[in-house]
Symmetry: C3
Subunit: 405 residues, 3 copies
């Protein structure tokens, strides 16, 4: 017996492409059965439509496999690692789409805020799983890696992909400068503790922790004021950086997806975090390399797809905004939130002190991003430059892993 | 018996607002008594006028109190500290006004030179007092702090205050780039000794001192040539950065004030320097923090008042010029003069080697100032960014004071 | 019996100023004697013409003297040093002219490639001589010194010399930004190994070597793609940076000169390298200082002459392109080639790890070059700033030589 037959002629007049957000939660005098079916049916159809459109989502099949594999065989760490990476990728895409849909439905300012807060939810959930497991090296490496990957690789590949199709591309350099400024502030916050405390790095554990908490609040303040600036008082400066929400989901589906997928990301992240250390050792990689490069690329896959697609449509404004905005969000929102959360859920408080190589990489990624966006124009070689800086970092991390971090 | 009665009808035709500079020093056949009275009367009236206009000057009452307190009670260090800070503030304002008046009366080029040389006289006098007392940590901290405070806090607060009133403000970015370039040169001079001598920092005392003297001469040369460039060969590039001298004092009053107030600043600075160390300890602050933040804010109070007022009048050209010009002057004029003076008046020669944290802060303050002024446009959030960088530095210095400096 | 008499009326209709490249290699039915004489006669006349025009070439007389002196007296190291410096200068000028002539005759893209590859042949030959002698400190110092000298002194002196004649000069800032970007990439490659491996600098010799080789390939890739970008896909952005080849030599003469002079540079370089260490010690200079300053100035003499001459003709595009292009070429082509060559001809593999002071100087030279070229306009003081940064480096290196490098 099909659902269609069970609640008859329920969705015949239902246009899936242009659903009014109120429709699904609207308490009209249709029977509960019909509404629920309508919801499930519409949602399923939309989800399937999305999955058909986006081949990345076919990887969703690895979510149950990864969770099952971990239950069945506790020792196959490399398998767990590969399966969890394959499972996180489509979940990140879904999470990203759901967040955008919620943002699109809640109006410009609140929507911008939501996008800015939940845009890196995947990274946040993975990092929280690592935090709970006490793997602070992995947490810090994935935070530093996400900043560097977004501001060098995502930005550079956008420039390169766009540049291969268009001779010279232009973008909103005011918006780029704003994001680069936020990144620069965060870089200083990450850098100054080690610069100031060079000589008493051994004994001053307490002060370092206090300083990290204070700096976390300053970064969150900067992030909040930056949102107020870009979404409210000076939003006209950021024209051209807003994403088009072509096929925004209805709010009910979006919220449900957000909740469900976050749970799945959390579950898969536990498998991932539990297997990373062993896999890294097995492949001769350091946990720092895995966190810096692999986790960062996995976590940012959804944003990358969006940024690259925009670049190839000559909408470089949007690509730059996604890449630098995401990097700034990791640095000014995710990182301080993790420090503060570590007091609640971690086995011990986490500080903002990154190892010197990570600080240097964040600093030079920020400087590079600032240099390549300062003119507001781009060609393919600008992208090559940024990607090569990223490759230099990746090579150095692979061959010379940091010790004792 | 009033002075007016003593030398009758002397100043009836005397316009205080538009005194011709020659008038007061003019050897006209009026009796000495009359001229002296005229001078004193006019000067007093102008001074009182200034004091009435500027509430900060009411703090002048603390000058005798601070000097007396130090004589009466040698042990009340915290009281001495507070009184001397309160006394220095109005003296700095007077000194600044007197310098500008002398500059206004002596023509553009010489005036610009005087302003550029004496504009940070307060900082110089305080630093000389600390130099004579052998407190080299305080000297270096106050020099580094003045550079950072002027280029971050004064600049940032100007942008913020201006931005709260005007949506977007524009300023002369050529002038800003020039000052930032000078600052960058000074930063390199402060940074390179420690970068080059990383490994022989222990033994090479003699060479370090020689290097400091050589670098001091190079910085003074850069400063001199920079003045020649900005006041002479390319002055047209700096349009809009000149201060209006609305109520310039007559040259006699200005010179007398300059001399007298300098003496008072010197006297009060001794009280200040003598009490700083104890007060810092009593309040749990390091001498570095006090020098970096407190002395820098006190010494720059007069320039800050001028820069903030200009920003709120939408004259951001002037604000940027005061903030960055003052920072460049400290770095390229005050710092090398102190190094050279230390051979004459200090207990031992002082070098240009700052502790690593100070060098890092100067470097990032310079980079921040350079980044936020590069576009020639500003909005409130630009000011917030600069102020937050300053707060990061202040927090780090407060919580993680440098050791052995 | 004169050559003219020997092969009669051979060159009467021969215009030396406008030789068609084909002419000299053209197999026309003139007797071999005549053609050879024509070649030699034409070449000689052109060479002599060049020598008469360029007084620097009179120093060619020191080439045989330097080579002879080394054979005759093995101990007069200071004399050898001075003679070899005097001999290298004119050879560098000839090499530069020959390279340009070959480039001018081989068409734009191939010519640009040749110019870009052989433009720093002198530096490369000197460095190879030092490499073969196992003097890695000298090799690295001369590479670092060439980058810094070209991007600060050559650029600064061009700005200064041009600025003394013209009030404000403009140049192609897109080209400058491109070269500065390449330099910045190279700086990161030189800097990141030491930043990443801070803690295991002692034991990780093998990984460091592997990393150096990997980074060398990345730099060569960047250089190659940069050439493709500037000579091929986006050459229109680099308008105004091409050199005029007023008196390009015929291809035969150019190739012969290229080959012969390279041999002489190699021979004299051996004398130079063999005497540098002793001379440095005798004059109280470190090998690092000699390599950084003396070798760099000597090796870049030819480019400097061209850059300065262009600046005084208000062709600042060309000056900036020569200065920054040469610095980028050293960093992205000469340095990695030397690392790779060290596996073939050196006594031991050389890595890309420069001592911290050199890395700092390269970094700040790159930042300075980037800052002073960002606006595309220049005045004399901009040149002073760059030169003063160079003087700060030179002073620091002279007074505080690095140890154990």
């Amino acid at each position: 017996m099909s659902g269609q037959a069970f609640c008859q002629n329920a969705s015949s007049d239902f246009s899936f492409n242009r659903i009014h957000p109120g429709t699904l939660l609207d308490l009209s005098p249709i029977s509960d059965c019909k509404r629920l079916w309508k919801l499930n049916h519409g949602a399923m159809k939309l989800l399937l439509q999305e999955i058909r459109r986006n081949p990345l989502l076919w990887l969703l099949v690895f979510v149950p496999i990864a969770l099952a594999a971990e239950k069945l065989n506790h020792e196959a760490h490399t398998l767990h690692f590969v399966l969890s990476v394959l499972a996180i990728l489509p979940l990140a895409v879904l999470l990203s789409h759901a967040t955008e849909s919620v943002a699109a439905k809640t109006g410009d300012s609140l929507g911008g805020l939501l996008n800015a807060t939940l845009g890196n939810l995947t990274e946040l959930v993975i990092a929280i799983a690592a935090l709970q497991a006490g793997q602070y090296t992995l947490v810090k490496a994935s935070v530093a890696g996400a900043i560097v990957t977004n501001s060098l690789f995502m930005l550079g590949a956008s420039f390169l992909l766009g540049g291969l199709r268009y001779h010279v591309q232009e973008f909103n350099r005011v918006a780029a400068r704003f994001q680069a400024g936020l990144l620069f502030l965060a870089t200083i916050a990450l850098l100054i503790p080690s610069a100031v405390s060079a000589r008493d790095s051994l004994g001053a554990g307490g002060s370092t922790k206090t300083l990290s908490v204070a700096l976390s609040f300053l970064l969150l303040l900067a992030y909040g004021l930056g949102l107020w600036f870009s979404l409210n008082t000076h939003r006209e400066l950021f024209a051209g950086t807003a994403e088009e929400h072509e096929a925004a989901w209805p709010i009910g589906l979006a919220l449900a997806t957000l909740a469900a997928v976050t749970v799945f990301v959390a579950l898969v992240s536990e498998v991932f975090v539990g297997s990373v250390q062993y896999t890294a050792t097995a492949f001769g990689m350091s946990p720092a390399f895995v966190g810096f490069i692999v986790v960062a690329l996995v976590g940012a896959a959804a944003e990358m797809a969006a940024a690259f697609s925009a670049a190839r449509k000559n909408r470089l404004d949007l690509s730059v905004s996604i890449a630098l905005g995401s990097a700034a969000q990791i640095a000014l929102f995710v990182a301080p939130v993790l420090v503060l959360l570590s007091y609640l859920i971690g086995p011990a408080p986490m500080d903002l002190n990154f190892w010197p190589g990570a600080v240097a990489m964040i600093l030079f990624a920020t400087l590079t991003a600032s240099l390549v966006t300062t003119s507001g124009r781009s060609a393919w070689f600008v992208g090559v430059l940024a990607i090569l800086v990223y490759l230099i970092f990746a090579t150095a991390l692979y061959l010379l892993p940091p010790q004792n971090t």
